[in-house]
Amino acid sequence: MKKAYLDIQFSWIFAIIVGAIILFFAIFMVVKLVKTESSSQNVQTSKEISVLLNSLETSYEQGVSSLISLPQYSRIYSTCSASGNFGSQGILVNEKIYGKWQESKIPLILEDKYLFIDNYAESREFYVFSKPFEFPFKIATLTYLTSSNQQYCFINPPTAIRDEIIKLEQDNFVVSESNCTSESPVKICYSSGFLNCDINVKYSENFLVKDGKTYWFVDDASMYAGIFSTKEQYECQMKRLVKRVNSLSEIYKEKILLNTYSTCKSDVLNELESFIFYLNSYSDSKDFKNSKLILTELESENKYSGCRLW
């Protein structure tokens, strides 16, 4: 009788142990699956954003704005790598589910996009606007993403910038002559004499100062890039853009050498070669300071040559 009792007990203990192992394994798998599911959801959102960025690709229109609404409260990060032929842009989305951030570490990598986000943008709704970057010919469309919760106040900007921002009709952008009324906005000042500015833009001198760091720019598109990005990201994206300029310059050089151009002369070859030489020595945005003369020469030579290259 005692032995049978022991036998029953043993089979119960055995079943409980194995059952516990199975349960533990099942719970472990479910947790893993939930994590994978949230990662795949984040990557899917990143991909959807990248598809939307394609539709924001500009031709000649200036400044196009669009609103992105995500199903969950999210953080969007932009990563950048300057290695490779054209470097790469990474888009990372982390969603907040039941008050907890679902950390995804897999960014969506794209070579043809240039997305500028100041550190990260957090909201359910985001504004994106894009602008063509020209140096001196069109290089790429730059896209700027901001959270609908973050207000930006442009204080006393030049007329062209003021008109452009008003035309964008983004609710989180305000243009002011002297002071900002909205709550805790990022203050972007275009002339000295204003207090508590987060960003000081020296528009005519082609640089801006943010967090004590200087960002050199060449046109309005790269100026916005400086406003809506961190220094590290800005320098990386500028390096990528310079790589693209270099490649496009080589394409234009090849175009000059085509047979059809023996009848239709373009006199830009020498300037284009010195431009490529300048591009090869580029190290950071400070080098944009030396680009003015060469850009003017290149532009005027192209404008008045027998056949325009671009």
Partner: protein
């Protein structure tokens, strides 16, 4: 008595193994179902991307006319630039995440001749990228322009072309 107990343990063990196998199979079925859904989503997004890209790619600076033919034009491909681009295409192999890119002259109608440096501009078909596992293609119409000379006078010659973009099947 010992034998009976052993049989009972074996019974329980078999039962548990069967149960585990059942759950593993259910899990595998669920996983494959999820993965196929994910693949479908990825393909749909790639398809969407290809549709948008087919209408936008002609405005990329690598192909667009810019102001080389007078005023700024939309959906205009510079044929000379395209020919020059062919030499640099290995650099751009992963640039647009597409598997195929072709430009075909459609008007005036001519027989199909693939463009190369030896026959350009007397050709009608630019095969830029043509990868394996290409999915369905998406087309849009563009004007294909280049400089021509006639009796010493230079003029802009623009023809109607079709740009064909296809994406990789996952």
């Amino acid at each position: 008595m010992v034998k009976k107990a052993q049989i009972k343990i074996q019974q329980t063990a078999f039962m548990l193994i069967a149960l585990t196998l059942f759950f593993v199979l259910v899990g595998l079925f669920f996983l494959s179902f999820k993965l196929s859904g994910l693949r479908e989503k990825a393909t749909t997004l790639d398809e969407k991307n290809a549709i948008i890209l087919s209408s936008k790619i002609s405005n990329y600076p690598e192909f667009s006319c810019e102001e080389a033919y007078g005023s700024k034009r939309v959906n205009c491909i510079d044929s000379d630039k395209l020919m020059a681009f062919v030499n640099f295409k290995p650099k751009y192999s992963n640039f647009w995440e597409i598997s195929g890119l072709e430009i075909r002259k459609i008007y005036p109608k001519q027989s199909e001749i693939i463009c190369s440096s030896s026959n350009y501009p007397n050709c009608t078909y630019f095969k830029i990228f043509s990868g394996e596992n290409s999915g369905p293609d998406y087309t849009s119409f563009v004007s294909l322009c280049r400089k021509e000379s006639f009796s010493g006078a230079i003029y802009d010659k623009c023809e109607l072309a079709k740009i064909i973009v296809s994406y990789k099947i996952k």
